[in-house]
C-alpha cells in the first residue's frame, strides 16, 4: 500500500495578509519532508471561492513549486476542474503537461467537475450539464497530449486543428483519475478505464461497495486514455500521535474543525435538484462531533499501533493507496504535523511494504483468518 498527503489549503479566520502565505509555505515544507520520508504522492484540490475551507484555486502553480522542491513524490492534480466555462480544455492539457515536464514525469492527473453551488454558480454553469462536460473533456485531453493535430467539435467546446503544447514527458501520458464521491461516479471511472480517486473522507466500509463495483466493471472498460489506470486511491485523515490520547485530542479536533467548515458550504445536492448530483458530496461533513471524536474504525488518527490496525481495513477493501489530509489550517501546530509525518514513516509505513502485505495474505490464506472485519456500511 502506498501513502500520500493532500491539501485543501484551508485558511481559517481571522485572516491577515500573512495567513494564506503561511498556509502555502508550511505545506511546501511538509511536502519536502514527506518526499524525504517516502510518502508516494501529494495531491492538491482545485476549488474556487470557498472561504476558509479551501484557498486552493491554482493547484498547478503550487504543485510546480512542490515539484521543484522534491525528487520522488508523485505530484497529483486532485483535481483539475474539467468544465469548459471554468477551464478551457486546451489550457488544462497545457498546464498539466508543463507540470509533468517540471516534475520529471511525476504527474498524476485527476479530473472532476465541482460539487458546490459557490463554484458552479459563479461561472454560470448549469449543474445539470457538468457530468456531460466532464465526460467530453476527459476524452479530449489524452488526444491533445498525444496528437500533433488535435481537432474537436463537441457539444461543450470546439477547436480547429492545433498542436497543443507542450506534450507530457510520460509516455503515452500521465495516469488519469476522477474524483469519486458517489457510487455512480465509481462505475463511470471504471467504464472509462481511469483511476478512482476517492474524495469523500470516509472509512473502509464507506468504500467497500465502490471498490467492488469499480474492480468488476473496469475489466471490461472502454478506456478514454491510451491505457487503463486500474487503481483506487482512498481519502482519509492522518494524525499519528505520541499516544492515543494526544492523537485524538490533537488530530480529532482538527478533523472536526475541517468537517465543520465543510458543513457550511453550499453543496449542490441540497438546493439544486439535478440528475447530475444524486449524492451529497459533503455527506461525510455532516458527521456529528461525537462521531468524529469516536474516530470510527479505519480513520488513521491515533497512535502508530492504532493506525496500523486501522489501515489494515483499507488493505482488505482493496485500495492501493490512501491519501490523507494532515491539517485544517493551524488547528495542528506545524511542528506537530511534521512530527506526525515522521512517526508515520518510521512506525507505520514499514508494516505496509509489499512483502509484509504478502505475508499477511499468506497467513490469512493458511489460517483461514480473514483479519479484522470491516465495520458495517454507513447509512
Amino acid at each position: 500500500m502506498k501513502f500520500g498527503i493532500f491539501y485543501e489549503h484551508s485558511v481559517a479566520k481571522p485572516w491577515s495578509r500573512q495567513s494564506e502565505l503561511r498556509a502555502y509555505e508550511q505545506a511546501l515544507e511538509q511536502i519536502e519532508l514527506a518526499d524525504e520520508l517516502g510518502f508516494d504522492q501529494v495531491w492538491e484540490v482545485e476549488h474556487h471561492f470557498l472561504e476558509e475551507y479551501s484557498h486552493s484555486s491554482a493547484p498547478e502553480v503550487f504543485l510546480a513549486a512542490a515539484a521543484a522542491r522534491t525528487k520522488r513524490i508523485h505530484i497529483g492534480q486532485g483535481i483539475a476542474v474539467c468544465l469548459p466555462p471554468m477551464n478551457h480544455p486546451a489550457r488544462i492539457a497545457e498546464r498539466a503537461a508543463a507540470l509533468d515536464l517540471i516534475s520529471g514525469g511525476r504527474l498524476e492527473f485527476g479530473t472532476g467537475r465541482s460539487a458546490t453551488w459557490t463554484e458552479v454558480g459563479a461561472f454560470g454553469i448549469d449543474p445539470d450539464s457538468t457530468k456531460e462536460m466532464w465526460d467530453e473533456v476527459i476524452r479530449a485531453i489524452p488526444k491533445m497530449w498525444t496528437e500533433e493535430e488535435f481537432e474537436w467539435h463537441g457539444k461543450y467546446f470546439s477547436m480547429p486543428p492545433r498542436n497543443v503544447l507542450p506534450k507530457p514527458i510520460q509516455d503515452p501520458h500521465p495516469p488519469m483519475w476522477v474524483a469519486v464521491s458517489s457510487p455512480e461516479t465509481a462505475v463511470q471511472a471504471a467504464e472509462r478505464g481511469i483511476g478512482m480517486l476517492g474524495v469523500t473522507l470516509g472509512t473502509p466500509a464507506d468504500y467497500k461497495r465502490l471498490v467492488a463495483d469499480y474492480r468488476r466493471i473496469i475489466r471490461h472498460c472502454d478506456p478514454v486514455g491510451k491505457f487503463v489506470n486500474n487503481q483506487v486511491n482512498a481519502a482519509s485523515w492522518l494524525y499519528c500521535g505520541e499516544d492515543p490520547y494526544e492523537a485524538k485530542a490533537v488530530g480529532g479536533t482538527a478533523a472536526f474543525q475541517f468537517f465543520q467548515s465543510a458543513a457550511h458550504l453550499l453543496g449542490l445536492g441540497g438546493i439544486y435538484p439535478s440528475h447530475a448530483y444524486t449524492a451529497q458530496a459533503n455527506a461525510t461533513a455532516l458527521l456529528s462531533q461525537a462521531e468524529i471524536f469516536s474516530l470510527r474504525e479505519g480513520f488513521p488518527v491515533g497512535s502508530p499501533e492504532e493506525i496500523i490496525e486501522n489501515l489494515r481495513y483499507w488493505e482488505e477493501v482493496g485500495v492501493e493507496r490512501v491519501v490523507m489530509l494532515i491539517n485544517y489550517d493551524q488547528a495542528i501546530p506545524h511542528n506537530k504535523v511534521l512530527a506526525s509525518l515522521e512517526r508515520f514513516a518510521k512506525h507505520v509505513m514499514p508494516e505496509f511494504t509489499d512483502e509484509k502485505a504478502a505475508e499477511r495474505r499468506e497467513k490469512a490464506r493458511t489460517s483461514g483468518d480473514r483479519g479484522p472485519e470491516a465495520p458495517p456500511m454507513a447509512t
Binding site: G121, Q260, A263, H264, I271
Partner: protein, 239 residues
C-alpha cells in the same frame, strides 16, 4: 469557521391578538396544494443581521422563498408566503423564517399562536399552469416581491427534498411576551414537480425597510413548482 447569526429572538416578537382566535385544532391536512419555491443568493451581512445566534450562515448566503396556495383546508382556501434564511443548525441544513404573510385571518392566528409563521396579514396573487407560474406578495403598504417562472420543466418528484423550517413563536411570559424557537418539519408530501431555469424575482415597488426587500435577490439558484399535500402543523421545540 461557522459564522453565527446576530439577531435577537426579541426582534422577531409579534403582537399577540387580544383574544385567541377561533381556529380548528392543528394539524390541518391540505390536499391539492401548490407550492412555488425559489432559492436565491443574498448578501451575507443582511442575512446575519436577521439570523438568530443558534444558526450559522452558509457560504454563499442564501434565502428560500416559498408561496403555498391551499385551495382547501379546515379554514377554507388560503395562501401563505414565507421568506426563510438558508442556514445550518448544528451543522445540518435548515431554514429560518425572516418574514411571512397569509391572506387568511384564521391561518394567521394559527400561525402566530402555534408555529411562529405566517404572522402577517397581506395579499398573495398566485397563478400556476402547466408551463408557467407567478406569485405576487403584498402587505398593507403594497406589493413587496414578485416571482415569475416563465418556463416549467417536469422532473421526478423524488429529486426534491426540503429542509425543516424554524421560526420564533411569540409566547406569553410573566405578564409580557418572549420568543421561543420552534421547528416545523415533514409538512410537504410531494406529488408532482417541475423546475424553472429562468425564474425572475422582481421588486415592483420600493419598500426599503421590509425584510422582503432588504434580503434582496443577488442571483437565483434554483426554482421549483410543486403539487403536494401540505400538513399545516404546530411547531415543536428543537431537541
Amino acid at each position: 469557521m461557522p459564522d453565527p447569526g446576530r439577531a435577537s429572538h426579541e426582534s422577531y416578537l409579534v403582537k399577540l391578538p387580544a383574544e385567541r382566535a377561533d381556529y380548528p385544532p392543528l394539524p390541518w391536512k391540505c390536499a391539492g396544494a401548490t407550492m412555488l419555491n425559489v432559492y436565491f443568493e443574498v448578501r451575507k451581512e443582511v442575512l446575519l443581521d436577521r439570523l438568530p445566534p443558534e444558526f450559522c450562515r452558509t457560504s454563499p448566503a442564501y434565502c428560500r422563498l416559498f408561496v403555498i396556495d391551499h385551495p382547501e383546508s379546515p379554514v377554507g382556501p388560503f395562501r401563505e408566503a414565507t421568506l426563510a434564511l438558508g442556514c445550518r443548525l448544528n451543522m445540518m441544513p435548515a431554514a429560518f423564517v425572516a418574514a411571512s404573510i397569509t391572506d387568511n385571518p384564521k391561518a394567521l392566528a394559527a400561525g402566530i399562536f402555534e408555529r411562529g409563521y405566517p404572522n402577517t396579514l397581506g395579499t398573495i396573487e398566485f397563478e400556476s399552469g402547466r408551463t408557467s407560474a407567478r406569485a405576487l406578495i403584498a402587505d398593507e403598504k403594497g406589493p413587496l416581491v414578485e416571482v415569475v417562472m416563465p418556463a416549467l420543466q417536469t422532473i421526478e418528484p423524488s429529486r426534491l427534498a426540503y429542509d425543516h423550517v424554524d421560526a420564533i413563536r411569540t409566547v406569553e411570559s410573566d405578564g409580557g411576551t418572549r420568543g421561543e424557537l420552534v421547528i416545523t418539519a415533514r409538512e410537504l408530501a410531494i406529488e408532482r414537480a417541475a423546475i424553472c431555469k429562468n425564474t425572475r424575482i422582481e421588486y415592483p415597488a420600493e419598500h426599503s425597510r421590509s425584510a422582503w426587500q432588504i434580503l434582496q435577490c443577488r442571483n437565483v439558484i434554483s426554482a421549483q413548482l410543486v403539487n403536494l399535500t401540505r400538513t399545516f402543523a404546530a411547531g415543536s421545540r428543537p431537541q
